[in-house]
Symmetry: C2
Subunit: 716 residues, 2 copies
């Protein structure tokens, strides 16, 4: 359903001087002002009701060899319009999305610079604002080399903020929760469990940046539609609390190469007095372009298991042989001595296919299937993988046959080792190989220092690469799960074959480092997940790594088992892994039942309660089914989660299966202790569930059958 009302205001032409134009959000609560300073500097400001949130903040870009777009401006034209439509996502947390905003488009001229004009376009939503710079084609402006972006966010105070260090290579940090004045990004230099880091300095943090004022206002600064531009980090002025955009340079020090007509990404500011509004916001998606895949019917949300956790806990290896020097063009793989611990074997893969088939799991991922893993990491090696040559113990054709016979899809793995020039040379061949052998989804990886050397993971060239890979995959009808790319910014609206990314610190860090603290999963939905789903790889059932390696006595997953189940709700993704070793699921089929049942695509979602860093409770309805699911998680503090089920349709009784922390559960001392109970619920039920420290609860709900109706009604 598409409805658009457009109301044009009169165009006004003024020479210079200060001028203010204000618009309000559709519901009138937010207001945004644009004005020019006496030096012709464009500025904007944003308020929530009567409260200023962003004080007048400067804007603009600096470019090479030409005057900047930061001052000397005069207004050439002002356009304003209201836009209101509802659109249907291919998959999502909801099955329809309303896109309702007021737009203010300012056309600016720079009289001192001949033939130069540009636009700043603002869109004001009920839950926030977005704005971008637009450069139309014009005689005086065709090729633009951006040397700096000067977008400011002048905050009103020293807000509490959840932050990770600015780093042009990685977002795999735990979050810090401090005031802006206490940010010290240099601590990132000691986070040795992250292999590749480029930290610009102590005052730089990454976006999305989640803040809360002392008055209880939630502010999130981020970007949408990151295309053909580097990622936006933020510099903090610790005296003035002004944040400024910090772009990511290329090897010769420029930020971006643009060709008019072109637009920058949208800079976004989400605002609400309710934390759940931030989680539920669709503004980032609404600022992205509509779907460009004409027939997306081949794109299917899925669950998968994989030969993967074994390698992280150390019971198996990616590499086939224990040597550390191989050459793709020269090594005779058949002559190597297998180390006996190779994960990606035909035999072990068949076990996973069997498990998937028996449990209704759509896919099986296998890492380490292709030659080159013996020396793949840390050697800055370009000719590292060819993506088409399997090890001697991995029979691609036999596995294809076996999986197809069992109705299971194999998921390909393309670890690039960040040798991206190599990957781009191989990509067509690698995708054709996939289609030939029945693979329709690929997990890609970008571990290590980028080749082209001198480029960063977050630079423009790499941003363009990630999208090239997604577009080429779409041509081949291949779905993508990208690990270690730039953090997503809503492009999955346009390219829904991009099912998920990693681009944050996932569950795997628990297997071989100090891991993720219990609050970690209560923060990610307020930061990383605003831009798109995350392949967090939840569902670990055995928490202590000493199970596998006595040397790892302090390493563990920092949650209870039922919190791992709840993550299937709170860490939204259309692509969800049941990440543990299948033997750990086979040991606990009762708990695993939840993973069998949980949906990965939704008609609707309700964020019931949330506080960043503390807790989240969310309910969702499975797409096209009479099934609902609730997930509740907490940080290191136990708490009582509250979930009103008034989203359930009237007049029906439902059976709820509750997977909850046992009374003695605790993430640290007793994480695997859980209780499963069934009861009757209905629209009037309000669930009250005790969550252990680092704990969680997962509930599946479906209409009650006659047999179910013998169950007791829910009592808190």
């Amino acid at each position: 359903m598409l409805r658009k009302l457009s109301i044009m205001l009169a165009a006004l032409l003024l020479i210079s001087g200060s001028y203010a134009q204000t618009i309000k959000s559709p519901d009138g609560r937010l207001s945004l002002s644009f004005s020019l300073s006496s030096e012709g500097e464009p500025t904007y400001a944003l308020s929530f009701g009567s409260k200023p949130v962003i004080l007048p903040s400067k804007m603009g870009l600096e470019i090479k060899n030409k005057p900047p777009f930061t001052n000397g401006c005069a207004i050439k034209q002002i356009d304003s319009a209201i836009f209101n439509e509802t659109w249907i996502p291919v998959w999502g947390e909801v099955n329809q999305i309303n896109n309702h905003y007021r737009e203010l488009a300012i056309t600016l001229q720079q009289p001192a610079v001949a033939n130069r004009w540009f636009r700043i376009v603002f869109r004001l939503f009920n839950d926030g604002a977005g704005f971008r710079y637009e450069f139309p084609e014009q005689p005086g402006l065709q090729y633009i080399t951006v040397t700096n972006e000067r977008t400011c966010f002048q905050l009103t105070g020293d807000h509490m903020t959840f932050w990770i260090p600015g780093d042009y290579e990685s977002q795999e940090y735990t979050y810090n929760h401090t005031r802006l004045s206490d940010v010290d990004a240099e601590i990132g230099k000691k986070v040795y469990e992250i292999g590749t880091r480029t930290i610009p300095g102590s005052d730089y943090v990454q976006s999305p940046l989640m803040m809360k004022t002392d008055d209880g206002l939630y502010i999130n600064i981020f970007e949408a539609t990151l295309v053909n531009y580097p990622a936006m980090h933020l510099h903090i002025d610790k005296k003035t609390f002004c944040l400024e955009s910090q772009l990511v340079p290329d090897p010769i020090g420029n930020m971006a190469y643009l060709q008019a007509s072109c637009n920058t990404p949208w800079r976004t500011i989400l605002l609400s007095d309710k934390a759940t509004d931030i989680l539920a916001s669709k503004t980032i998606l609404n600022l992205n372009e509509p779907c460009k895949i004409a027939d997306p019917s081949w794109i299917k949300p899925m669950k998968f298991v994989g030969i993967w956790w074994d390698m992280h806990v150390g019971t198996k290896s990616w590499n086939y042989a224990d040597i550390n020097n191989v050459k793709l063009d020269e090594t005779d793989w058949n002559k190597l001595t297998p180390n006996g611990r190779h994960g990606a074997t035909t035999e072990y893969t068949k076990k996973y296919i069997d498990f998937a088939a028996a449990n209704g799991i759509d896919g099986v991922l296998v890492e380490g299937w292709n030659v080159g893993w013996e020396d793949w990491a840390g050697n800055y090696k370009e000719n590292v993988f060819d993506f088409v040559t399997p090890y001697p113990d991995f029979d691609v054709a036999e596995i294809q046959r076996y999986a197809a016979a069992k109705g299971v899809k194999m998921i390909m793995h393309h670890e690039t080792s960040s040798a991206v020039t190599n990957y781009e040379r191989w990509m067509d061949t690698a995708f054709r190989f996939m289609k030939h052998y029945g693979y329709n989804a690929v997990k890609s990886g970008y571990v290590g220092r980028i080749i082209p050397r001198g480029e960063n993971h977050d630079g423009q060239w790499m941003v363009n690469h990630y999208l090239r890979a997604v577009k080429k995959a779409a041509k081949y009808k291949i779905m993508v799960d990208a690990h270690e790319p730039v953090r997503p910014t809503g492009l999955h609206r346009t390219w829904p074959n991009l099912l998920a990314c990693e681009a944050a610190r996932g569950n795997e860090f628990n297997a071989w480092s100090r891991g993720n603290p219990p609050e970690h999963e209560t923060i990610l939905p307020f930061t990383r997940l605003l831009g798109g789903p995350m392949d967090y790889t939840p569902g670990i059932f055995r928490m202590k790594m000493s199970t596998y390696d006595p040397q790892k006595k302090d390493m563990m997953v920092h949650t209870t088992l039922t919190k791992q189940l709840a993550l299937y709700l709170t860490m939204y993704s259309p692509l969800q892994m049941a990440a543990d070793l299948i033997q750990n699921y086979e040991a606990r089929p009762d708990a695993f039942q939840f993973i069998r049942d949980v949906a990965v695509d939704w008609d609707n979602s309700w964020y019931l309660e949330a506080e960043p860093g503390d807790y989240i409770t969310v309910a969702r309805k499975a797409k096209g089914k009479d099934e609902w699911f609730v997930g509740a998680i907490t940080d290191e503090n136990g708490r009582m989660a509250t979930a009103s089920l008034n989203f359930l349709p009237e007049k029906t009784k439902y059976v709820a299966t509750l997977y909850t922390d046992a009374p003695d559960a605790d993430w640290k001392t007793n994480p695997e202790s859980y209780t499963i109970s069934k009861c009757l619920v209905d629209k009037n039920t309000v669930l009250k569930i005790k969550l252990a420290p680092g704990g969680g609860a997962a509930i599946s709900i479906r209409p009650a059958t006659e047999t179910d109706k013998k169950l007791k009604r829910y009592k808190p």
Copy 2:
């Protein structure tokens, strides 16, 4: 025929201290010594008879984070052998090549560095020496990041030298002829007709470097087998006359990334007291690997014409429309207004096909056939060409049909605009497009600043790219003519589908700049051509550019017409263009007859007389035919060329057709004045031909028929 005698000398193990080992060339004339200094520094020296040519010179590499390979060495082993074989090139100046050298392989250990050993291998030929560094796989050495190479060439004096400025992007300079002490490479910064230059400093020159001592000894320093390494430039110490290797850095300042086991290229020093020996040397080829193409029957030397010179003289354009902002993904090419001067049209191409068919010319090149030329240069644009989309006025299929019907091969053009990441993404698709439309040869180009940004034309990454392109072309049975790559170093022995490169200042510079002085073509065979054939694009018949554009009144080709004909002999290449507009050939069919007749592949060649910078006279026998050709060229001074025909078989009379400068010819004032005469010659004939200033002579010789025998005998 392959014969190899191998004589092993006893292995000697010594701890440290100076030690000298000397070998002689097979004919005993050259001698090379290796020794260690008291600090364990490897050094070598080279003599010609009793004359030292290279005094003891240090060697070695410096690498990142590990001790260098320059000192602290002890000899672990010495091996010496003689090698003598004759091999057959796929094409060449001769049809068989003798490879005869004495090898000295020094295995060095570095006792202070655990588990470290490497080799320096010398090969001493009758006309020079080559040496390289070899790094075997070993526990202490796997991945090597080269930060500097310290190979020295300590000369005995301030020799006269032909040099071009050290420049990591371009070799398209005219040569300077000065003493080493007078080199000032900074003059390169004012050579504005070269678009992209990276000049490291005033004391850096390029290799190959051609020198002549005051005693009349010719010395040429270069390299062979440049693979997986940056090109070697040379730093001149103007006080000591010591030259030192200068490698080309990558964007982050490293020179090369190696993985043991690996070898550097061969550093070569050619030596003779006869200039013609330098021209005839096969040492560079002999230091390259044998042919790797199992069945090279699809590789065929060829002549071609092309829609190309029109664009250089300005009568036509590469671009279809006169706008300067296009986007591959967005521009509707059918909606552009054609400028009416587009060279690459179906109609004009058919004219060239007709001409080629009527004149026995194998191929037609067409530049500007594919979309993107409107803004292709100087914009540092990555998404610049797709290599598969023709302009609206170029019907690929129709041209394929027309050319095939006439027995003419179309030659593809891939100008990359140095957006090499883009080219690599497109390469498979572009090569498949070629095969689909009947193209079996491609001229590639690398004009502009390299993308990956920060890389140089001469850096390791680009060296690897050029070879990747040749190898992939070989897979598709495609021949390559690469323009603006790194200068070649004999790799066409291994990959004979690499027919030619530009990689020096070609004829085209005459069309739009101060051009090439008359001595230019007497220098290039002593420098650039030692590494491989050059697509010099000879055969221009109309010398003055004012013919096409009155504004270009000082621009012209700086040779006479018959010198242009002689270039088909003196500028050896299996791929030769008849570069002028076909109408200029149609106006002079008598002179063009030489180009129709001249061969491009040879059974044998004889360099009869030569002096770098002054003159060259060469004779060649066509492969598999009773046809011989002689070419003689001079610089700005007229001279008498002498060519003894005693290479002709006995007992036969031959008819020679002589294309010579008319008595009044002069490159500057009367370049197009020529004489054609026929006469009888035989084995005893000694031709003496007057060459005009900037002039030349071309002679074709075939057995005399009965009718021919009525011709007069040759008289000087």
